[in-house]
Symmetry: C2
Subunit: 485 residues, 2 copies
Amino acid sequence: MSKTGIEVQKEKDFSTWYQQVLTRSDMLEYYDISGCYVIRPLAYNIWQEIEKFFDAEIKKLGVEDAYFPMFVSQRVLEKEKAHIEGFAPEVAWVTKAGSSNLEEPIAIRPTSETVMYPYFAKWIRSHRDLPLKLNQWSHLTKEEADVEVRDILELYRQVYEDLLAVPVIKGVKSEKEKFAGGLYTTTIEGFIPTTGRGIQAATSHCLGQNFAKMFDIVIEDPSVTDGTAKKIHVWQNSWGLTTRTIGVMVMTHGDNKGLVLPPRVANLQVVVIPCGLTAKSKEEDRKKVEDKIQEVLTELKSVGVKVKADLRDNYTPAYKYNHWELRGIPLRLEIGPRDVSSNQVMGIRRDTFEKKPIPLSELTTRVPELLNTIQREMFERAKKTYDEHVKIVLKWDDFVPMLDAKNFVLIPWCETEQCEDQIKENSARKATQDEPEDERAPSMGAKSLCIPFDQPKNPPIVVGETKCVACGSDAKRYCLFGRSY
Amino acid sequence: MSKTGIEVQKEKDFSTWYQQVLTRSDMLEYYDISGCYVIRPLAYNIWQEIEKFFDAEIKKLGVEDAYFPMFVSQRVLEKEKAHIEGFAPEVAWVTKAGSSNLEEPIAIRPTSETVMYPYFAKWIRSHRDLPLKLNQWSHLTKEEADVEVRDILELYRQVYEDLLAVPVIKGVKSEKEKFAGGLYTTTIEGFIPTTGRGIQAATSHCLGQNFAKMFDIVIEDPSVTDGTAKKIHVWQNSWGLTTRTIGVMVMTHGDNKGLVLPPRVANLQVVVIPCGLTAKSKEEDRKKVEDKIQEVLTELKSVGVKVKADLRDNYTPAYKYNHWELRGIPLRLEIGPRDVSSNQVMGIRRDTFEKKPIPLSELTTRVPELLNTIQREMFERAKKTYDEHVKIVLKWDDFVPMLDAKNFVLIPWCETEQCEDQIKENSARKATQDEPEDERAPSMGAKSLCIPFDQPKNPPIVVGETKCVACGSDAKRYCLFGRSY
């Protein structure tokens, strides 16, 4: 039989805890091929909620959908050697169809640029064809591109903070950490307090004109009106969001009972469970409870609450509590014969386990309110924890101890790659034999996570005066450093 | 420069016509890997409209979405030899990652059964877990499965007839033509009048208990209440719809000007084009027309019409007419200075080229009405043509001539595989040297397309009396035969 509860503590063995939450809550099944897994409806629905929100927003920005094949020929893939180099070791090559060898191997595309841009070169003939917005974006000017890089990053922030109740910090990547071949990369950075590690939540890149030059995506300059035809290269952006979002949400909100879902993305927001009935209960009591449950379902559905009742007759209420707690359902309503008599239900929040009676007459206002409160408070708690773990550090001696205490550090920084490499080396911590598996990973050196858009004001950076905490040369801006996934 | 119009006639060179419509209307780009193509926004949007309709309907039936990996290991894929045999020659095998050979090759899954059903065996433990509906369906009884096979087929009919305005005939496949390994296959069959050939539009299969037995998907019989545990195998259905739908729509409605889109799936339903303005037009006239166009856009959008204006200043009205006719936009509105003065616009239907003035004061009622009319009449015309090409044939001598005249034939049939093979052989027609390329294909023999649910009543089949038109033994039901794609 499969196990039905979480058997380790999040604080003690984070990676086992994470695996158990994912599989035992019915979100995911591992698969016999490395890197692949089955996404079950509970998790897939969260992804669909994210898509629904994001799709509506980018449609407003004029983005259209298209489909590009998953295969790319060797010739096309390897057209731009430098760009593809980083992907090369992981590229999956199809070499056989049935039992015959292919004349030329075909790759499963590891990235979209080389697949899409030859067509962009063909489709874009005039400035009137711009902006072309098809997941990848092309623009006439840098200013247009800049605005949209930030628009998208803001939408990603909303996905994390408003939908998933996961706080993030917005900023720009260092030169070393930016997308290879791009001009600059903006990012939102998440934080997993249990391990003190960062996680890159999503990025939005300005590719500049580099790819346009590679693939010859040109238009005639519309500002030239004297009849001479001057070709200019378009500006391109690139961005993407993955199911990693769901993993960050699980890590942030999950607890030792299992998953905790923010109401806005929960496929099931409220589960109703009959209580206080035994084999000896009067038939009359049983009927009263069941009738009342039907009323409750009807009322809550009428105000848009995603609700169902667990009426299985072969499980105890306690078994059902565990079952739905493991699956993270935000609110449980218990109804027994005494509740029916006193015209109330008992509401139990998944996030805090707070228990409060709700008068039946106020159900349609109180339950939606409570779901909003849960959503808001889940974010506020996570935000408070994140903020408490971002430490301004003004001398190097404090840098590693702060990291070791599971914090991010914000330092005045010189923004040079050499210094960044040095910081990574100097902040690595050797693993000792007696540390458990899960603790070994954070011993890695700290990376620059982002230069936050929202810079600390106290103390301010005085150009030419404030020094880089790591190397002592002139500091430019505060940069966020941390150990990360 | 790319070509911007259709240069061959649909009736004369169907396959070139089809390729030109697909690529020049911006629906699709061919790709340098066989079997792959790029689906551009115009076509992708049609697919999204189909998905939106279908998704909402199957959600009502309780179907949930999940994601299964695209890869499958050799061991799992080859678990069920007989089932996979038909797919084997086309399976794409990944044998290398980067420059290293994989220990075991990985296939790109050609079908879902072997990937999904091992998990079904794990997830389904009790009759309370049924029906499990995840694209593939599991049921407790044959009756449940039967009902849903028909429910889905009916939804597929709606996709074709109500959304795409493409008529189909519903029926059940012969034993020879059913899904390998399944119990029976229901189908909707389309017809391309230009070539007289049939096309299988969509199928909905009852798999029976075969796969459940293979993959050991069992539950305890809930009807056994004496405490003994009797295992029974679940019933499964399987169905799927592909972008072939769009191809059938193009073939059915396209004409020698290009694509013709049914309004219900058109991303753009109405295009407004300023007319009657020349370089010498008074600035006042130009402004009047442009202002009026803005009004028209606002009004039409307010009643949900998908509309835009083509205000490009470097193309003539005639160029724009061709541009939007090629792309199949259902309705064109022309507005010139004289139209503004007489408070009207000129409306031109894409499907019939019928031209009628529409008073500006009635725009918000007349345009939606006209779009509905176009949708309905496109279907009615196609339906009439289809019906005229389905011929009841009562003696073998008429069979091949009817086919050669680009018809389907309905015959009283014995339903044996031997007779079916014989019909195919006897109805094949040798190609002659002087026939054009496109005419050669229909020389293939006729296949059984389906045994229609809606059987002809005149003459009725009298069991034991009516003979099979092909072999002379007892006929069971009318069967639809035709040459097909």
